[in-house]
Symmetry: C2
Subunit: 283 residues, 2 copies
């Protein structure tokens, strides 16, 4: 495997940019290829079969592009489709659930862990299972907070509306838990309101952040880290021309929401059709 | 054309059930075949090309099923894809934009008309164009209210959150308009909070309701109305076994949200793959 190859990041849409940002911060020497499946977003209300199908199509596109590692930034795809993606790909695949679960157990120190995520992720029980693998005695509460996604995309993450919604979803948890895992890529955008509802005593885990740290360790262990480049300006800029961005639809909207999420947007976003690469149909 | 054939209703998901309900109330002798494209919902954030593609796939599925008329319940699909659907199909196609626009002009009596809809519908300008065709002097304000969809699906249509969100979106319109078109199938679920924000002096138009009335007139004009059945119990029940429901994914979630929208859910919901019927790829 060539360590100069980029890292692939696949997400159902724009939310995975929070994972891209974390990877970018921790691994400034790496290059990234991001694919947002904006033609079929969101995944969080869809079934196992459909999420698997979409996830495999997207992952194959990125593998064909040439990557050294695939990061599944989407929590729903990580929760439902990781085994299927691993069977379909040659390159190593990292999801966000395992890293999020490990970070949660580490921080919880025996206190209760809450996981907030999409409907599909919660129904899959993937976080509870991943946490149980690390600490069989851990108590886990999972809860879907679907409105957080729309609030983040609307740019209302710090509004009174977000505050009211967060209270409805989370206020009863505050006194009960030690750690809260933000198990959907959109939720870190609402971090301030989530923190204000659950209180300072509850530690918030960003699954994307935890994933970036594990990817760093993995690249090091595999000898796959890219060598630092002398010419590279530091700090490297988010969305600079060294990274590539693909979407399956509506590139303009992606750029607009990316600006909200990152404070900057890629100058070039290529629209592609992953279903043209789909081999599932004929299998 | 056989008047005993059912009427096809296609929607991006579950929201079109509000149009089904209106059709069902006004046309109790008719049978309906409903297709919700839950594998690819929502359409309101997607591009023209993608919405056209999805809409044609879905419409062809329903035509192949055997229908006498197709109602495009989804405002976004009606706004973006009606010409493409009409080119692709043999049967007559009715969208919701034209009926909504005509009802608005009729009620407005020269006052300003506001249209609330998805981002894609607003960007298309379809309502403004349709209204201008009826009354070139009409003043139209279009506004996207994306959070209304999540609120309706979450079952929070009458919550304090919905009230706050509606105020943010609409409070400045109250004194300015005579008519407000609810140009997205989900919005009629929020009718009470929308009405409380814009005030009793503003008339609310349900595009689905307006469409049901035009479909009634059309069937009569074409001699395609189904003859009343003696054996049929009155009033006919919503979601009874005379109507058929198809989804492209996640039938369970569809049933759950249908219950919220209609107060009842179909006992049988068939999951199908419309992309198996897609001829676009080889054209």
């Amino acid at each position: 495997m060539n360590s100069n190859l980029p890292i692939g990041i696949f997400d159902s849409g724009v939310g995975g940019l929070t994972v891209y940002r974390a990877l970018h911060e921790h691994l400034p020497d790496e290059r990234f290829v991001y694919l947002g499946d904006t033609a079929r977003v969101p995944y969080g209300t869809k079934s196992l079969t459909t999420v698997e199908r979409y996830a495999i199509e997207n992952s194959r596109f990125l593998e064909a592009h040439g990557i050294k590692l695939l990061v599944v930034a989407c929590n729903t795809a990580s929760a439902l489709a990781l085994p299927a993606i691993r069977r379909a790909l040659q390159v190593e695949v990292v999801g966000v659930i395992g890293p999020g679960a490990r970070a949660a157990v580490q921080q919880a120190q025996g206190q209760k862990i809450a996981v907030i995520a999409t409907e599909a992720t919660v129904q899959s029980g993937a976080y509870a299972q991943a946490i149980a693998r690390v600490d069989a005695t851990a108590t886990v509460i999972e809860r879907a907070c679907p409105l957080f996604v729309s609030l983040a995309e609307e740019g209302w993450a710090d509004s009174d509306v977000a505050q009211t919604v967060a209270s409805r979803y989370l206020s009863d948890l505050a006194s009960d838990i030690g750690v809260l895992v933000m198990g959907c890529t959109h939720y870190p955008s609402l971090r301030p309101v989530i923190a204000s509802v659950v209180g300072a005593a509850v530690q918030l885990i960003d699954a994307g952040e935890a994933t970036a740290l594990e990817v760093e360790a993995l690249l090091e262990a595999r000898g796959l880290a890219r060598a630092p480049s002398e010419q590279l300006a530091r700090p490297r800029k988010l969305c600079d021309d060294l990274d590539h961005f693909y979407v399956t639809d509506a590139a303009e909207r992606f750029a607009r929401v990316a600006e909200r999420f990152l404070g900057s947007a890629p100058s070039v976003i290529e629209a592609i059709e992953v279903w043209g690469h789909d081999e599932l149909r004929t299998n």
